[in-house]
Symmetry: C2
Subunit: 215 residues, 2 copies
């Protein structure tokens, strides 16, 4: 048949993805198909033959990058650690990844929504959605949350993903905020430090009666 063909095609596809990668690293997630084609030394229709449409190219590129991130997060979630260390590890894994290639990360986390008009309600990009699903599964599997564990784990998976996403985005733009400290900051938040901290002595407009951390 075409066994050499298939290998060639796969290689070519990887080359095109490499080119798209370079352009996106350089110009951000809004890179045009023309720019990507030019970077690859070809013209648009070839890209469309390989990937169908822009969404297809983006999905291929996202899968390529997100698979390593997802693998790392999955491993971190399965590590034989205490809960706090595990959570810190997962957060650190995420932050380290986005720190090492911010443009690629932005592409994964904040893709051009014009390209994915399919999911009209998706606030979390597919990669983030996958992370949220991993998280939910880990929570449901490892923690005893009572009868409505399924929904609780799902909601928390989404919420924690959004929390780390927004925190990570903010952190990326900070200077002099060590990663390890950001990990602690986020883990502390999940550990109820906000709820447990004392009132500000200077506070005037708040009759506080802080509850304990829940029963």
């Amino acid at each position: 048949m075409s066994s050499p063909d298939r290998a060639d095609r796969a290689d070519r596809r990887e080359e095109l993805l490499d080119a798209a990668d370079r352009v996106i690293r350089r110009e951000g997630p809004r890179a045009s198909m023309n720019a990507i084609a030019a970077e690859a030394g070809i013209t648009k229709p070839i890209l469309y033959r390989h990937f169908g449409d822009k969404n297809g190219l983006y999905r291929a590129l996202a899968e390529r990058h997100s698979s390593t991130l997802l693998t790392r997060i999955h491993e971190a979630l399965e590590a034989p650690l205490g809960r706090r260390e595990l959570v810190e590890n997962v957060i650190d894994t995420y932050l380290a990844s986005i720190e090492s290639a911010p443009q690629v990360y932005r592409f994964l986390a904040h893709p051009d929504p014009a390209s994915e008009g399919l999911s009209p309600a998706g606030p979390l990009a597919p990669t983030l959605q996958a992370i949220a699903t991993e998280l939910s599964a880990a929570i449901a599997g490892q923690i005893d949350l009572g009868p409505d564990r399924a929904l609780l784990a799902e909601a928390w998976g989404q919420a924690i993903t959004g929390m780390v996403l927004a925190g990570g985005d903010w952190w990326l733009e900070q200077r002099d905020y060590p990663r390890e400290r950001m990990v602690q900051t986020l883990a502390d938040l999940l550990w109820g430090r906000l709820a447990a901290a004392a009132d500000n002595p200077a506070a005037t407009n708040n009759h506080n009666g802080t509850h304990a951390t829940d029963g």
Copy 2:
């Protein structure tokens, strides 16, 4: 001079915003300028005369809607309540708002990024960013967080905003998940319930040593 002119202009502007509002409610945040102009019974250049560019229109529309949301959240943050009740109140305010007009909310929370090419790093839409700032200010003002309170409050403001954003997006698509329960779900997360909950008895791959909720 043109005092009637000015009033007319302001009225007209409001009418145009009304039209844009209707289109966005109907078609989502990706409504085109042509569609908005048509809904208003006019043509594009008039929109551009009033709002400069698409970003200007979006900003005007966002301010109009977000001001009420921001006001409500601000009030909730200043209410004389215990911390847990206050947090529940703020979350409920947000969820109630997005529940009452999901399309408008999506426009506020997930605007078409093509329109705001200015902030290349902004994951949180301006309205959400404003909410995060409110949150940070409230945290820094009301809670004693030690020496690095400023940064901690800022990071937490962002993180909590992202958490409630992602949680809210997910919740909007759920059926049969009462708002009050979602409020509890998110507040519980902030109160460290994830950290404090017992291990799942069926868990096998996790040597757990759950720390207490912080000291």
